[in-house]
């Protein structure tokens, strides 16, 4: 294969992409490079994943996607989730929810962190000394301090009594004190680390949100700052100072920026190459194998990591210093239309424009029993085997597992009945064969009438007034939507001219990652994936299956509801941007292992313990949109 002709060094045009040879950038014609085997990676600030890219219909007319503008505005820190201008200097930090920052935003982050001096005042050692910092509720701070002081006095008395020079020596001399010495030292180390965490979060400008912070207290301001830090660094943890969060806090800001850079590059590479294999199928025994054309076993590759690493190496961006130099070399204006050309390793032999893909969902351990008794006491329903999502490929008479991810199945949820009261209802996940015919980017969830009113409202600053509005975050389109950033609709194909049967189950993106990764997490019947994985999955499917672009699915939905003598009106102009798979994608949902006493789900409403109802529960309502409601979160769910 011949290398494309190298253009003269200085200015580059929109048709050019940069290549790196011997550490130097040069410009090539992007189309010519693509023809000669290069992959063009989009570094521009108007990049979106395939599902939000500008698409054209068969007549060549662009079919606009309403959410594309918002996606770009969020990635570039110019718009908020409603598509309204973001206040100057405000940051979105939405990578955790499936919207990576643009390279322009990363550039600004790198350059600002290189200049900032406050990080030098942070004691890294104190941060590295602890793995986590135990949460102490603000109201328990005083008693916790007293307890620590008592423990200190007790240990000091013992130290003197045992003629030990230090507490460590005491623990050695009198082993019965060892656990107490360990607990005391841990608490002291955590307190010291907490002070450094506060400095670090203040240094990153994160403690200015969420009200006033009291030094040393894990209050709301602190929790919100930790959440923003986790969002910025794509850390899937609850909003506390747990191990991954502490690891990132202990790294210098530029090191975290470089990790963000590699994640952003990863999504661009995945998008350019159209791959999905991310190593999620690997086990302790290593990667699974398939039989290649040669008849020999071939190990399944982690293409996401392999191709990202290859791109970074070819572009000379394998270190934090190199990335910083790259951003210094390219002014912000370059990222308006910057593209790179790389020669990625060849894709596996099973790649084709039309791949025989299918999805299997294993529901894992399933409980139908009520998790509460009549007095509201919770009964544990442990699961060893969690629900999982499998993407398969049929190739040369073998079924190859390309990706396997944690997902959710339905469980007991709060639902509003026709009498205006909330009850519990079991909202399970259907079992058996289905298909995905439609994939919707920026989907809208039409909240069923059973959605608790409390979740349909939120407070918002509307043109200078802090007021209650309909919570469109839940409805979408948007990263917080009940259907996330993209959804595949499960249906049973209609026969003899009848329409498909849709029971409201989808496999969709979700910002509620705790529901996916926690032992207590359930959905309303849908199968949730983190937004970035759902985007990768459906972008991959759409690029390797025959499909038709249906475009924006306009509708004129409006529904009113009452909340404390004000009428609120939900208005939804579109269902989202639809793609139709032709033929549809096969899906199989496995029943899983039914645990507990009940072997079939309860189909009626169950009163909530402690609530006074006007009468017996009304009959349940069914609607196909009632399944995925992130709006109706369970008690205690975040």
């Amino acid at each position: 294969m011949q290398a494309p002709a190298v253009a003269p060094e200085p200015a580059h045009t929109d048709n050019q992409a940069f290549v790196v040879h011997d550490g130097k950038e040069s410009w090539v014609d992007a189309e010519a490079a693509a023809r000669s085997g290069y992959t063009i990676i989009d570094f521009s600030d108007d990049w979106t994943p395939f599902i939000f890219a500008e698409q054209s219909g068969p007549d060549g007319i662009v079919m606009h996607n309403r959410y594309r503008r918002v996606f770009l505005g969020l990635a570039n820190d110019t718009l908020d989730e409603d598509g309204e201008p973001l206040p100057a200097g405000e940051k979105n930090y939405l990578e955790l929810y499936g919207i990576p920052p643009s390279f322009g935003v990363l550039r600004a982050r790198f350059l600002a962190n290189e200049q900032q001096t406050c990080h030098a005042t942070i004691n890294q050692e104190k941060l590295e000394e602890v793995e986590t910092i135990a949460y102490v509720a603000p109201e328990k701070m005083k008693s916790e301090a007293e307890r620590t002081a008592r423990l200190h006095r007790e240990l000091e008395d013992a130290r003197k009594k045992n003629s030990a020079a230090t507490l460590a020596e005491l623990a050695q001399k009198e082993t019965s004190f060892a656990p107490k010495v360990k607990a005391y030292e841990r608490r002291v180390a955590e307190k010291a680390a907490m002070a450094e965490v506060e400095k670090r979060l203040a240094c990153e400008g994160m403690l200015k949100h969420g009200g006033k912070h009291t030094t040393g207290v894990y209050d709301d301001a602190m929790r919100l700052a930790v959440r923003r830090f986790q969002q910025k660094n794509m850390i899937y943890e609850a909003n506390y100072l747990r191990s991954k969060t502490m690891d990132a806090l202990a790294l210098p800001p530029l090191a975290n920026d470089y990790q963000a850079f590699m994640r952003v590059l990863r999504e661009r590479v995945v998008s350019a190459a159209g791959v999905v294999e991310d190593g999620s199928v690997e086990s302790k025994a290593g990667a699974p194998t398939y039989t290649g054309k040669s008849g020999k076993p071939v190990a399944l590759r982690n293409l996401v990591d392999e191709l990202t690493k290859s791109a970074a190496e070819q572009l000379g961006l394998s270190t934090q210093e190199a990335a910083l130099a790259f951003f210094k070399h390219h002014p912000a204006a370059d990222f308006r239309r910057l593209r790179a050309a790389v020669k990625l390793p060849a894709l596996p032999e099973y790649y084709a424009p039309d791949m025989d893909l299918s999805i299997v969902i294993d529901r894992g351990d399933v409980w139908y029993d009520l998790p509460w008794d009549a007095s509201g006491v919770r009964h544990p329903q442990p699961r060893k085997h969690y629900p999982s999502f499998h993407l398969y490929l049929k190739y040369n008479n073998q079924r190859i597992l390309l990706a396997r991810w944690r997902t959710t199945v339905g469980g007991w949820r709060a639902e509003q009945a026709t009498d205006g009261y909330e009850y519990f209802r079991y909202k399970g996940s259907d079992v058996g064969p289905r298909v995905i015919r439609n994939i919707v980017a920026g989907p809208v969830w039409i909240a069923p009438e059973s959605t608790p009113i409390r979740s349909l409202l939120k407070m918002k600053d509307v043109a200078g007034s802090w007021q209650r509005v309909v919570n469109y975050d839940e409805l979408g389109p948007g990263y917080l939507s009940a259907y996330g950033l993209v959804a595949g609709y499960f249906v049973q194909p209609g026969k003899n001219g009848k329409a498909d049967w849709d029971n409201g189950i989808r496999a969709h993106g979700s910002s509620d990652y705790l529901s996916i990764y926690s032992s207590e997490g359930y959905s309303h019947g849908c199968h949730r994936l983190p937004n970035h994985l759902a985007i990768r999955l459906y972008s991959f499917i759409l690029r390797h299956r025959p499909m038709r672009i249906l475009g924006d699915q306009g509708m004129g939905f409006a529904r009113q509801f009452l909340a404390s003598d004000d009428v609120f009106e939900i208005r939804l102009p579109s269902r989202g941007y639809s793609y139709q798979l032709e033929p549809p994608l096969p899906v199989e949902v496995l029943e899983g292992d039914i645990k507990g006493t009940l072997k079939t789900p309860v189909l009626t409403y169950v009163p909530k313990p402690g609530i006074k109802y006007p009468g017996p529960p009304p009959a349940v309502r069914n609607s196909d949109e009632g399944r995925a409601g992130a709006g109706a979160k369970s008690e205690g769910e975040e």
């Binding site: 309204e84 205006g420 469109y472 924006d552 306009g554 208005r571 102009p573």
Partner: protein, 174 residues
């Protein structure tokens, strides 16, 4: 060099001029809104207003997209009402005519509140992706039980002392 007195005078003049400019701009804005509302009277029914799907009433798609969109707001039943966007008063709905707002295309949604005398306030949303019509249904307080979300409070528990005479106050102390 400018003397302090002259400088103060010129500052006062600048303040007055800015106030005048602001007042003129406000007047022009009010006139344009009223003109829109008045100009649209009678034409609304015949005009090619688009719904929120971007298609015109007769199913056509507008050929060229303007930089602005028109949001037409009506009340059902037609009643005079005020339209507020946060603290900003966007003007009255001169029922039976509609209020027509002009907004930059794709500039984000407007969370509006409609206040009509004798009806519950309605919070609704208008979009700017394309021309759209927002027909807001008004509900009088006496009919709020027809709205979703209305709930009847459970009856108070029966009084265990029902039927017993009220306790007598303590006799006055001597």
């Amino acid at each position: 060099m400018r003397t302090p007195a002259r400088s103060a005078r010129s500052q006062r003049w600048l303040v007055r001029a800015s106030r005048l400019a602001l007042a003129t701009a406000a007047l022009l804005f009010a006139v344009s809104i009223t003109a829109w509302a008045a100009g649209k009277q009678g034409k609304d029914a015949a005009a090619k207003t688009t719904d929120e799907t971007g298609k015109t009433a007769d199913g056509e798609t507008p050929a060229a997209k303007a930089d602005t969109v028109h949001v037409t707001i009506q009340t059902v039943p037609p009643r005079k009402a005020q339209v507020k966007w946060g603290r900003k008063n966007l003007g009255p709905i001169p029922a039976p005519r509609a209020l027509v707002l002009e907004r930059p295309r794709d500039s984000g949604p407007l969370d509006l509140t409609i206040h009509a005398s004798g009806f519950l306030p309605v919070h609704t949303r208008a979009y700017t992706f394309t021309d759209s019509r927002v027909a807001v249904k008004l509900t009088p307080p006496t009919e709020k039980n027809t709205l979703f979300g209305y709930r009847e409070e459970p009856a108070p528990p029966p009084n265990p002392d029902a039927g017993a005479p009220p306790a007598l106050p303590d006799p006055p102390k001597p």
